[in-house]
Amino acid sequence: VAENSPASDPRQTEEFIHERWRYLADWAPQPLVALEGPDHVIRYLNAAFAELAGHPAGALIDRPFAEAIPQEHGEQLVEVLDRVYRTGRAETLAEQEQDHHSPSVFWSYAAWAVLGADGRPTGLLVQVVDSTKSTVFRRTVVAMNEALVQSATQLHALAEAQASIQARDRFLAVLGHEIRNPLNALNNGLQVLKVVRDDPDAAGTSLAIMERQLEQMARLVDDLLDISRITMGKLVIRAERTDVASIIRNAVEVSLPMFERGGHVLDVSLPTSPIIISADPTRLSQVVMNLLNNAVKFSEPGGTVWLSASRHGDEVLISVRDEGIGIPQAQLPVIFQIFEQLDTEWKRAQGGLGIGLSLVKEFVELHGGEVEARSAGPGAGSEFIVRLPALDDEAPSRPPATRPGRNLPSRRRVLIVEDNIDAGTSLVTLLEIMGHEVRLARDGEEGVVTADEFRPDLIFMDLGLPRIDGVEATRRIRAQPWGHAPYIAAVTGWGSEADKRRTGEAGFDRHLVKPVDFGALKELMAGIGDARRKAGRS
């Protein structure tokens, strides 16, 4: 047929083409069938299809296609054929497995419509491919890929497990060091105490150091117990309606000695009206304390730490900012993770375990909040921001008289006359967070001038001051027309009876011996109104 040249008669030409196609179809290696009508009756099949179907061509002609194919393919395939017949759009049905074959056999089908003169399908052409080889190959590749992914995942998990074991070992090593350190100091302190019995100053210093080291160790152990409680899910938060300011005051009260030791300055900024949250006051104070501790630890002596609380919509934001060593970008995401952060060179260089920040995150999250660390990088300082859900402004459980505010009777004007900047500043901070209006004067003369301008309710007067001393400054204040009004407390390192008599004669109302503890200060501030009334001066 192929050798014949095309004839010029169009009918002959058509016949010629028809013959050629018929020849191609008959001997094509791909199994092929032509179906007619909506029941997909076989009107033509080639030799390859007959062989694939395993029946002589004569047995299949004029039979529905479903009878020529494996029964298990029937339903799904007929659905496809129906759709192609209905829509005229070609479709395929790939990788149909045949039952009862071992090894497996797969057929794939492609069906397209034969259109009549009106453009509607009159039948279908279906090509069937024994796709066993390619299907088995593809499935093998997929299975191998899955196995690879699985082993990679297992390897990754194994590596993670090893890393966490290493991190734990490193943690234990650092923990040992952290416990050993105060133990060494305690041990040395005991030995020193034995030899300095005759020297009360040296003995006092040793005892104070030992007390501090013991406290440090106790805090470390408490932190470890908290971590283990959290890990075991046994930590209980006792939430109550509470004012953020009172939580911050507690934390600051406990942290002030630490600020004084390093000469750090604490700048506290609190809102004028209460922000009520549902919180466990102990745990949340611990959060603020740990953040303050962290800020001091990573700041140069004398550096400033800013602590603030403010309300933003439904949230309260507590921020602790420092101008210390800062945090590298890569460290920010793991800064709260107890084991991971030890894993970095940077963290190891900083020393410590990182339990504090880890507890901050845990406690904040147990309160339904979140904590974020920010830093522009090494040397640029850091800021930690705690966000907690705020409750409605109404705080029924709180008597209004105890709220801090400008016009409330508990808010007093306080003047501190103190030449030691650290001692003065920490007292200012303490009184400010108690809600008082505070001024600081650095010597006796400045004290007298400031008292005249400021007209304080209360003056804390250091005695050993430059220019004129505290006793003389008090005499001058008392000599003013308004000078009888302020309650003046001497704050001094000298505590003998003779000293007390001297200050009493100079017009002081009270003689306090340094260091003034927070309890005594609170008691004094609360008692001033009564004292002044009794003295007939208020």
């Binding site: 105060p182 041990n187 030995q191 020193v192 150091i209 080291q213 900083q350 020393g351």
Partner: protein, 126 residues
């Protein structure tokens, strides 16, 4: 009088040792440093006979520091004061130029004895 400089990041520990040494008739404190920063410069200023150096100063390569101290002051004696007692690290510190080692577990009088021995030129390890 034997002048001793203490370097340890635990300021309470250095302070206690400072108090204890003030009781020793033949020694005095040449100062207490809580970081290795400026240590090499301080050697020149404070002129200690012996430096007692904590091996575990955070952020400090103690071995490298010992090398620099030796270069800056060939006569100063260095006593490594460590809490770990890891023999490998101590050997390395001695190789780097330290004259002796004292464990932080030791009593202070043992520390002072070792300082005296090392100052006399006798190697000591406790």
């Amino acid at each position: 009088m034997l002048r001793v400089l203490f370097v340890d990041d635990n300021s309470d520990l250095t302070r206690l040792i400072g108090i204890a040494i003030s009781r020793e008739s033949d020694m005095e404190s040449a100062g207490e440093l809580n970081s290795a920063e400026r240590l090499v410069e301080e050697l020149d200023r404070r002129q200690p006979h012996v430096v007692v150096l904590d091996l575990g100063l955070p952020g400090t390569d103690a071995l490298e520091l010992i090398g620099r101290m030796r270069q800056a002051s060939p006569v100063v004696r260095i006593v490594v004061y460590s809490g770990y007692d890891d023999p490998h690290t101590i050997d390395k510190a001695l190789q780097a130029g330290a004259s002796g080692h004292v464990s932080k577990r030791q009593r202070l009088d043992r520390l002072f004895d070792s300082i005296r021995q090392i100052a006399r030129g006798t190697p000591a390890s406790h």
